[in-house]
């Protein structure tokens, strides 16, 4: 009897949406979508950028009002639309990708900020705030110094603060938007444990992530959206990464390792014994013309520091660098660019592109001297240069003068690559080129990388996702604690072997 009652409760959804339609400026963002979450389950919402995931979350949390006819059943109540206040009051919490925390405030205040919101002003009860915060952190099984300002903490811990804040709101349903995007593997594992704890304590979690391995690991069901429409709801058991990718993109991808014979290709870059104390130590490597060298390893292994040194932004303490047969010592990255080194920054949003500026301006920023005419920028030359790259790299844009922020992640990354290709590099360093880029668009970017290599460019591809370097590089170096600790040839090693070495 008791079991049956339990079953009945578990199968009644906590949240159930039907007939949700949303239109923005003539574009249908959601087409007749339905969505269901059971109490205490970890449910994954999968789809490419622009598939409607964020829009759907915003409908559920009351930021957007869906078109008439929508039905939102939540926790025994029926709504035609939500409002942010009702959503929060009834236990729907969102942990946004940008966290929406207050860096200058203490951890306690960030977690218990809810307690200072209210209709009328009143005195703040700091003791109560601390108690609430410590309590919430305890439920997650962590202890922090709650009196320290949040900006002293690394991003992974801020993530946990954001989760603790959601708990304070008596959450029944928590949305997590790309919670692991900037976490290392061990931090991710830790976060997934916390998600499991949450789920075990009866809180339902809707998990949005580009990292499909996590999706498979953590969730019990997956809802897939494509172009604003529901593709289907699938139990995670029996799904594979490639199956989810197919469902999300509607395309099939075949993964195969590269087999290029480069033994007779001349060496483009030769690095010997390069060291910078505290960052990397005794790094030696070669890259040939037409070769893609993958470098993988955990966050903090010194990969980006090495790349910045090769790009002239940091000075090595010892060691030598030979580029195209000539020994080089860069005084700054301007020297490096002039010598033919290009570096695609790992942080596209804040470092790689100037977001509010036009696509065309972003594309020519590193090669302004090529479009000069009589000392001034020639708009004609600029236009033809930009058109060429847009065509060659297949960037999908509206107008050249649109702000770069109007493009999707994949298209932004193409513009960033074009920006560097316009400088005529010999060596292209790509640092985490697919962060925040859709699965479908990733394939497009690696197509470009492969073509560039075939045209004779030497490429260093840095990524903490082992499959990415495995399938897209000719050789893979494993970096750990500032040293090169292993070298693999994808054709001769299995993916698992490299993954085990890296995550061990």
């Amino acid at each position: 009897m008791a079991d049956q009652a339990l079953d009945g409760a578990a199968s009644r959804p906590l949240l159930s949406l039907r007939n949700v339609n949303m239109t923005f400026g003539g574009v249908k963002a959601l087409k007749n979508v339905s969505f269901e979450v059971l109490p205490g389950e970890v449910h994954c919402l999968a789809g490419e950028n622009g598939s409607g995931k964020s829009t759907l979350i915003k409908v559920i949390t009351g930021v957007y009002k869906p078109e008439a006819g929508a039905v939102i059943d939540y926790d025994g109540q029926s709504y035609s639309h939500m409002s942010p206040v009702t959503a929060q009051a009834s236990g729907i919490q969102v942990i946004w990708q940008d966290l929406a925390l207050f860096p200058e405030m203490t951890v306690a205040e960030n977690i218990a900020f809810q307690t200072v919101i209210g209709r009328w002003p009143r005195l703040v009860n700091y003791a109560e705030m601390r108690r609430v915060a410590i309590n919430a952190l305890q439920r997650l099984g962590v202890t922090f110094d709650v009196d320290l300002a949040l900006h002293h903490f690394p991003i992974a811990q801020r993530q946990i603060v954001a989760i603790a804040r959601a708990l304070v709101g008596e959450a029944k349903l928590v949305f997590m938007d790309e919670p692991t995007a900037s976490l290392t593997q061990s931090e991710t594992d830790y976060l997934l444990d916390i998600v499991r704890n949450l789920s075990a304590s009866g809180v339902a979690v809707v998990f949005v992530s580009h990292r499909l391995a996590e999706v498979l690991e953590i969730s019990s069901r997956v809802t897939v959206l494509r172009d604003g429409a529901l593709v289907g709801v699938y139990p995670t058991k029996g799904l594979t990464q490639s199956r989810i990718t197919e469902l999300m993109t509607g395309k099939t991808f075949d993964y195969s390792v590269l087999h290029r014979d480069l033994s007779r290709s001349p060496v483009m870059l030769e690095v010997k014994g390069l060291s910078r104390p505290g960052e990397f130590d005794d790094v030696s490597l070669t890259v040939r013309r037409g070769e893609t060298l993958g470098i993988t390893g955990l966050l903090g292994a010194g990969r980006t520091e090495l790349a910045l040194t090769l790009f002239g932004m940091r000075k090595p303490k010892s060691g030598s660098v030979v580029l195209d047969g000539k020994p080089v010592r860069f005084g700054s990255n301007r020297d490096a660019i002039a010598a033919g080194v290009a570096y695609l920054s790992e942080d596209r949003l804040s470092l790689g592109l100037i977001q509010p500026q036009a696509i065309a301006d972003n594309m020519v920023i590193a090669s302004l001297d090529k479009i000069l005419s009589g000392g001034f920028i020639s708009s004609e030359r600029k236009r033809s240069l930009v058109n060429r790259w847009i065509r060659d790299l297949g960037v999908r844009i509206g107008k050249q003068d649109d702000a770069i922020s109007t493009l999707s992640g994949g298209n932004q990354q193409r513009v960033a690559i074009a920006k560097w290709l316009a400088t005529d590099p010999k060596l292209l360093i790509l640092d985490a080129p697919t962060v925040g880029v859709d699965v479908g668009a990733r394939a497009g970017i690696f197509d470009i990388v492969s073509k560039l290599a075939d045209s004779g460019l030497a490429i260093i591809l840095i990524s903490d996702e082992v499959p990415e370097v495995y399938f897209n590089a000719d050789r893979v170096l494993h970096m750990a604690q500032g040293r090169i600790v292993g070298e693999f040839t994808p054709g001769a090693t299995t993916l698992q072997a490299i993954e085990e070495a890296v995550y061990a």
Binding site: F102, I117, P121, L123, V124, P277, G278
Partner: protein, 333 residues
């Protein structure tokens, strides 16, 4: 203790700079290190401190205001006129009138910023010109000397005769300043409204998602600065015993520099009342000291500018970066 140092780095750096200057001035002049001079400093700094705590609230909420000093001039003029009509009044009535006029002018700024989404520096540069232009146009630049008696009478709250026969006095402006300081401190650290102001300045989008009323935040911040500016205007008229339309012109930049010096961040979310007061005091102690040392007033601005620059550099830079040899000795690599 380490946490205290970490979270109050600016205040401690300022205190250190002020201590160094005070020690120097105590030896350089015989008048600086006396009770009388200390009280004088408080009496003369009161108006600026009232302005400063008002401006602090706007900076915390992520805004900036250029217009508050000329707004205070407008309030002085209007308040003097209104007090003339109602025939006299007293301090309470005067403060209420001045405060209300100040709030009204502050709300004009908030309205422009919130309703028309004009960034605060542009909005308040405009109102700065409008307020000052209107004031000069309608007054023709004529000062008011005929103020009510209660407003021009010095009110001594505490006095003590010194060994040399001079009197050390604390006057009414110091009390009003103390009340304004306490009220602002309570508002921003003890009330939910104050914490919302901090949150709004720190991360406006995050605050919006929390359901904080953004418009209310703008009106509270600029209204509070207006209130403080109105009060400071009346106190300044009392102190100067006259209302001169351009007396406060240019004061906004002195106050802004002092508040930023005190650790408030242009951009919001950061700043403390203590830092703010120390910032004002550093500037006025320097001026006071230069005065006592007989330095030409023409050199004041230059030296004050240099001191502000030095103090800002010190509070923004960790000791290790300033003195690299300390670091290499402490952490052998």
């Amino acid at each position: 203790m380490r946490r205290f140092v970490r979270s109050h780095a600016t205040e401690l750096a300022l205190l250190a700079v002020i201590a160094v200057i005070c020690v120097f001035l105590s030896f350089a002049t015989d008048r600086f290190f006396t009770l009388g001079n200390a009280f004088d400093l408080l009496n003369t700094s009161s108006v600026n401190i009232i302005f400063a705590v008002g401006l602090l609230v706007v900076l915390i909420a992520g805004g900036i205001d250029i217009s508050f000093a000329v707004a205070a001039s407008v309030v002085q003029y209007l308040a003097a006129t209104v007090l003339g009509w109602i025939g006299g009044g007293n301090w309470i009535v005067g403060l209420i009138i001045a405060g209300a006029l100040g709030v009204a002018l502050g709300c004009i700024n908030a309205f422009l910023i919130h309703r028309f989404r004009i960034i605060s520096i542009v909005a308040t540069i405009s109102t700065f010109n409008i307020f000052f232009g209107l004031l000069m146009f309608f007054t023709g630049g004529v000062s008011i000397y005929n103020l009510p008696d209660w407003l021009t009478t010095r009110v001594v709250l505490f006095e003590r005769e010194m060994a040399d026969g001079t009197w050390a006095e604390i006057t009414l402006p110091v009390l009003i300043m103390a009340i304004c300081v306490f009220a602002t401190w309570t508002l921003i650290t003890r009330t939910t409204t104050g914490r919302q102001l901090y949150a709004f300045g720190d991360n406006p989008e995050g605050a919006r998602r929390f359901g904080i009323n953004i418009g209310a935040m703008q009106f509270i911040a600029f209204g509070w600065l207006g209130l403080m500016a109105g009060i400071a205007g009346l106190v300044q008229a009392h102190y100067a015993q006259e209302v001169v339309p351009n007396a406060l012109y240019g004061r906004e930049l002195d106050v802004l520099a002092a508040v930023v010096l005190g650790g408030a961040r242009l951009g919001g979310g950061k700043g403390s009342v203590l830092g703010c007061i120390l910032g004002v005091l550093l500037v006025s102690i320097t001026q006071n000291g230069l005065n006592l040392m007989g330095v030409s007033p023409f050199a004041f601005k230059m030296i004050v500018g240099a001191i502000i620059l030095a103090a800002i550099t010190l509070s923004n830079t960790s000791i290790e970066r300033l003195l690299p040899f300390l670091k290499s000795r402490r952490v052998p690599s």
